[in-house]
Amino acid sequence: MNDMYGKGILKGLSVSLKRFFETYLDDLSWIGRRYNTDAGIAHRGSKDARGIFTVQYPEEKIPVPEEFRFIPFLVYNEGPNGEKNLLCTSCGICAKVCPPQCIWIVRSTDPATGRPIPDPAEFYIDADICMNCGLCAEYCPFDAIKMDHDYELAAFGRHIYNKAMLSKPTKYYESIRPENATRENAARAAKLAARTAPTKAD
C-alpha cells in the first residue's frame, strides 16, 4: 500500500486535468482552424494531436484513404451519345471469388446465334451480404469492378443493387483512386503496345 491514501487518484485526476487544458491550449494555437477545416481534421488525427481528438460527424468527415473499400461498383466508359459501355465482360470471376457469394450475374446471349456475348445482361450485388473484402476488385482481370468510397448507405429495407445502380463512370473511379487508376491505365497501355508491336513487325 502507498504511504498516502488517495495519491494514485490525485495523480490520475491530474492527467485528466492536463488533457482538459490541452484541448484549450490547442484551440488557442489553432484558433479558428481546429474545427470544420481539412487541416484541423488532419491535425487531430496526426501524431501532434493534443486534447480532444474526436471528429464531429456528420458536420466534419475524416477523408478516406485511397485504398479504402466499401461496396463494389461497375466502371463504365461513356460513349459519344451518352451510352454506358461497361468494362465488365461477365466472365464471372468476381462471382466465383466472392466469399459470401453476394454477386449474381446474368450473361447476355446473342439472340441470332445463341452464343454468349461479353456484356452482362444483369448484375446484382446484395449489399447486405457483401463483406467489403475487395476480392472481386482485386481479381477482376478487366478492371471493371472496383470498390467504392461512399460509406453512407443507411436505408429502409434491403440493399440489393442492380446493374443501373452499380454503374459509375470512369471519371468517378479516377477521382476516388487517382494513383490506382494511373497505374492500371499505364499497365493496360503497355499490354496493348506489347500485343500490337509484334504484329507490326510481321
Binding site: 500500500m1 501524431k47 485504398e67 479504402f68 462471382a95 471469388v97 450475374i105 446484395d126
Partner: protein
Amino acid sequence: MTTPAAVQTLDLSTRFPDGATPDARPGYSGWLVDKSRLVEFATALRDEFGYDYLSSVTGVDYLPEGKMEVVYQVYRTTGGSGVMFKVQVPRQDPVEVPSLVSIYPGAEFQEREAWDLLGIKFSGHPDLRRILMWEGFSGFPLRKDWHEPYFEEEAKPYKNRWPDGKIVQAESNNPYADNIAYPPDFSPEAESFDPEKALYDALRKYQKNEIGLNTDHIIVNLGPQHPSTHGVFRVAVMLDGEEIVNLKPVMGYLHRNHEKIGERNTYLMNMPYTDRLDYLASMSNNFGYALAVEKLMGIAPTERADYIRVLMAEMTRISNHLFLIGTLLNDLGAYFTPMLYALEERELILDIFEAVAGSRMMCNYFRFGGVARDFPEGTFQKIKEIFFERLPGKIDEIDRFLSENEIIRSRGVGQGVLTAEDAIRYSVSGPMLRASGIPYDLRRAEPYSIYDRFEFDVCTRKNGDIYDRLMVRFDEIRQSIRIIQQAVKQIPPGPVTSVKPMYQVRVPAGEAYGRVEGPKGELGFYIVSNGKPTPWRYHVRAPSFINLTAFGPMCIGQKVADVVGILGSIDIVLGEVDR
C-alpha cells in the same frame, strides 16, 4: 551429435514398438496411436519426453474412409517443434475415444467442442456437454453429412450465381423456417424441458458438502447481456455467500460455425473470414492462416512481404493490447477515461491499417505468398511518426498514471492467481502464460516468418495475478515497438508477392498446422486438404477460447466482484471464442 528431432523419433518408436506408428499417408506427419494405448502414449509424452503443453485437440471426419480422427498437438514449454498424434476410430456411433483431461486439463473445452461439433464422445471426460451449440440441438454440425438450414451446395462458388444469376434471397427460400430439425426425443413445446438443467447439474456436481449439511448455495448468472462480459458471454457461478464455489462459462451466443463455412469456402475466400475471428487483431489471424496454407502449398513469401507481415502483426499486437488495457480498467472501475486515452493511440494505428489494407478492422491484407499490395506513399513516414516519436512516450504516460494507482493495485495484486504449473496444465497461452512466469513466446520458442532476425525480450512476470497480466501487456507493447523500429530500418525494396496472384490456388493433399503468437495467445490453424479447391478440414485453435479453460479454476475461492476483473484480464473476444 544427433538433432533433437532424430532423438525424438527414435525414442518414440522404441518406446512404443506396437500401438503407435508414424502416419504414412502422403502429406501427413505425426503418429497414429491405437485407441487402447492413447492414455499411456500421452502420459509417456508428458512425463518421459517433456511434452507438457497440449496445444490443440480437434477431430476430422473422414467420411469417404468411414473414419473419425482425433488430432492432438503437443509441445514443450521450453521451446522447439512439437509432436502431432492421432487416434482413428470407425465412424459408427457412438464414436468413442478416451479423454485426455486427466493428463492435460487444457483439453477440457477442446474435447467438449469436438463432442459438440463432431460427435466424438470422450469417455472419462468430467463434464461432456455441448459447448457452442445448445442442449436440444440436432446433429453434429461439423460432420460432413450434416447440412445447415440454408444449405445450397457442398462447396463455393455456387453454380446459380453465374452465368444465370437469378437472384434469390436466402430467407425467401424458406419462409416458414420449416427446415429446423430437432433430436428424436426432443420437443420444443414440451413443458418439462429445462434447457439449463445440464448446466446447473454440472455446477452442482462439485458442490462441497463436507459436513453433510445442505448449505444455502445460490446460482447467479452474469451476462450474457452485460458490458463487462465484452460481448455476449455468460458466466454461471455458484456462490456461497460472496465466495465462488464453482463457475462455468456459457458461450456460443455468437457461434456461426466458422469452420463449416471455411470448409465450404475456397482457400482464398477464407482470408476475409479469418478477420472476423478475433476482430481486434485481424492481421494476426490473416498471418496464421496464410502460414498454414503456405506450409501446405510449399511456398514462401518474398523478403519485403515478410517484413510487411511482421510490421502489421506487431502493430496489431499493440492496438489489441491498448484495447485490453482500456477495457480491463473499465472492468476494474476506472470508468472510460483511461480507455479513451488508450483508444486514441489505437486510432492512429488503425489509420495506418486503413491506408494500407483499405479497412480499419477487417483488413483482409495477407495473401498466400505475400500480401495484397505494397504500402502506399507516405506510410513509412506515418509509421515513423507514430512508433518512433509518439507512442513510446504515450505508453509511458498511461503506465505512469495507472500502474501505481492504489485501486488498481488492490483490485489486481493477488487476485485471480494462476500458478505457472496450472497455466501450463490448462493450456493457457500468450500474455496470460507469460504473466504466470513461463517465458514461452512462439516468436522465440519456435520462430516463424522472420522473427529470428529481431532483438526483443520475452516479457514475463512472476505472480500470475490480474495486475501482472495488465503489466505484461505494457511490457509487450514496448517490445513490439522495438520490433517495429528494427523492421522499418531493415525492410528491403522488392515485390510483395512471390507467386502470381490467383483466385483459385492449388493446394496439394495433406495436412498442416500453422501457429502464430497472436496478441491473445497461440493462434493455430489446422488444415487438411484433399487436393480440391476447398479445404477438407479447417480448424482454428482459438487462444481466447482455450484460455477460458483456466477461468473457472482461477475464480474458485474468489469473491464474486472479482469475476469481472479476472475475465477482463484473460482478454477474450467473442468472435473468436464462439467462432
